[in-house]
């Protein structure tokens, strides 16, 4: 009985120590990446290549999802607003929802599952096939050569993807609201423009997506770099990347929203 109780306590203690240790290790990895970022800018070609893999290849999923989300917002928003006789505010609703929340958040979630998992798998496999060790033995620092360019590519790609998501989403809302349902076009745009503020709404949305880009890419890189060099280890790490970075995006969104849109 006593043995079982202490066993449980030991389990909790072990988990806590493990968790703290991992957070410390991850922070150190993150700082090292920042510290060793020189090469990603001096030889920008390295970063451009990674922008292709994480940004350009995520383009289709982002644009298509943005269009659908915008159209759904148009339909749902119209249903609700119509009850209060204010369907002309549809443009405002679609635009604010997208620029403030759905644009940055949904594109970050999609980015985590599309690009984040790919980054983890790639780095994990490079480690499993000794490519990372080989690089170290060639006196080349894998953090500055492999990790940092991918990190900056993610940070650069994310806000651009989020902006495209929002822009396409507004267009989707326009298609459904104005073209299909027949909300007055002038009211749709003018009310939107009167209510959406560049600094308050759009710029804050972009800032959000930059933060999400940092979080998702850093988590993906860390999970890949930390993965046990086996097939099982890499697959676990990939799953963890998607789960952890999605949760991180949602939690960060709450914090950022509280700071940005208070009052």
């Amino acid at each position: 009985m006593f043995e079982r109780m202490t066993g449980g306590l030991r389990g909790i203690g072990h988990t806590a120590i493990d968790g703290v240790w991992r957070i410390g290790y991850a922070s150190r990895f993150f700082l090292l990446t920042l510290f060793k970022s020189g090469i990603s800018f001096r030889r920008f070609g390295l970063t451009i290549k990674e922008i292709y893999f994480s940004g350009v290849l995520s383009l289709i999923i982002i644009v298509v999802s943005g269009l659908f989300v915008g159209m759904v917002l148009g339909l749902q928003g119209y249903e609700t607003l119509q009850k209060y006789g204010s369907e002309q505010a549809l443009g405002v609703m679609v635009a604010l929802t997208l620029t403030r929340e759905l644009g940055p958040v949904v594109s970050a979630l999609l980015f985590a599952s599309r690009a984040g998992s790919a980054i983890t798998a790639e780095i994990g496999l490079m480690k499993a096939t000794e490519q990372i060790t080989a690089m170290e033995m060639m006196a080349i620092d894998p953090i500055s050569r492999v990790v940092a360019p991918r990190f900056w590519a993610g940070v650069i790609s994310m806000p651009l993807l989020a902006a495209m998501f929002s822009a396409v989403g507004v267009f989707g809302g326009y298609l459904v609201g104005v073209v299909m349902i027949g909300v007055d076009e002038g009211a749709f745009w003018s009310q939107m423009q009167a209510a959406v503020d560049f600094r308050q709404d759009i710029l804050n949305g972009i800032i959000k997506s930059v933060v999400f880009g940092v979080a998702v890419t850093a988590i993906a890189l860390f999970e890949g770099y930390d993965a046990p060099p086996t097939a099982e280890g890499v697959s676990h790490a990939t799953t963890r990347t998607v789960v952890t970075s999605s949760l991180a995006v949602l939690a960060l969104d709450l914090v950022l929203t509280a700071f940005m849109f208070r009052g």
Partner: protein
């Protein structure tokens, strides 16, 4: 300490989490020679290479490469030293996102300011030496195991190192590729005037190409000498290893409780 030894390993011990892997190893690798380190799987051969490359620190003793104690070097000095080492990894470890050409050119581009035209000539030279000049545009995924190993070899000698380390260069190769790699190791060593360390468990191939052999078992050196001495050796371990016998000083059974006791029969 002799000037003729490029690598000296003095009384080195190392273990992973209390499990000792190496126990007081002494070794000397003379310049310009091909030296094999042999032993069964998991006897700590690869650990030795990692110690020489400075990836891990010995818990006791020291490894000297070209007179410098490896684990006392700071990061910059270590990287400087590694530039003069080439390493061939077990399965090549080619960079999968680059073509064969870019793989071989990688270190030249990273470490030198050579113009691209010079790099091209150098890369073709190295690829020609391993007979794969025509495969320069292929991706690593398009290569056979033997070809990948040869490309990795070309990459290992890209910066004309003073020391080349081979980690199981023969693992998983067909007999023809095996012979090709074995020949290349010998030829490159003599042509470039480097020193080579070959970690392997392939006795027949390596005894034909190396100058000196160390046998490692359970963390200690059990025998060493020239290939000829090894073939003639009467030591039971060497005999078992060279002739591939199933049981001998290297037990077939992993150390465990008495079989009878394990089955619950009491002591038999």
């Amino acid at each position: 300490m002799s000037k003729d030894n490029l690598v000296e390993i003095n009384n080195v011990s190392f273990g992973y989490n209390k499990r000792p892997v190496l126990k007081g190893i002494n070794m000397a690798i003379p310049r310009g020679r091909v030296v094999a380190i042999m032993g069964g799987s998991g006897c700590g051969k690869t650990t030795l290479l990692r110690l020489i490359g400075g990836q891990i620190k010995p818990q006791q003793g020291e490894v000297r490469v070209a007179g410098q104690v490896v684990h006392e070097l700071d990061r910059e000095e270590l990287y400087k030293m590694r530039r003069r080492m080439g390493m061939l990894f077990q399965f090549g470890a080619l960079f999968t996102d680059m073509s064969v050409f870019d793989n071989v050119a990688f270190q030249m581009r990273e470490h030198t300011d050579l113009p691209e035209a010079v790099i091209r000539d150098l890369v073709l030279l190295k690829l020609h030496a391993v007979g794969l000049r025509g495969a320069r545009d292929l991706m690593p995924s398009e290569l056979s195991g033997g070809m990948a190993r040869r490309v990795a070899l070309a990459r290992a000698v890209a910066l004309d190192p003073m020391l080349i380390m081979y980690d199981e260069p023969f693992a998983g190769l067909d007999p023809i590729s095996l012979g090709v790699i074995g020949n290349l190791i010998r030829r490159l060593n003599d042509a470039l005037g480097v020193t080579s360390i070959v970690v392997t468990h392939d006795v027949h191939e390596s005894l034909q190409i190396v100058d000196y052999v160390y046998f490692v078992s359970e963390g200690v050196i059990v025998a060493h000498g020239t290939p000829e001495e090894m073939r003639q050796s009467a030591k039971p371990f060497v005999h078992q290893f060279v002739h591939g016998e199933m049981d001998g000083p290297v037990p077939f059974h992993y150390a465990g409780e008495d079989y009878g006791a394990d089955l619950g029969l009491g002591h038999v």
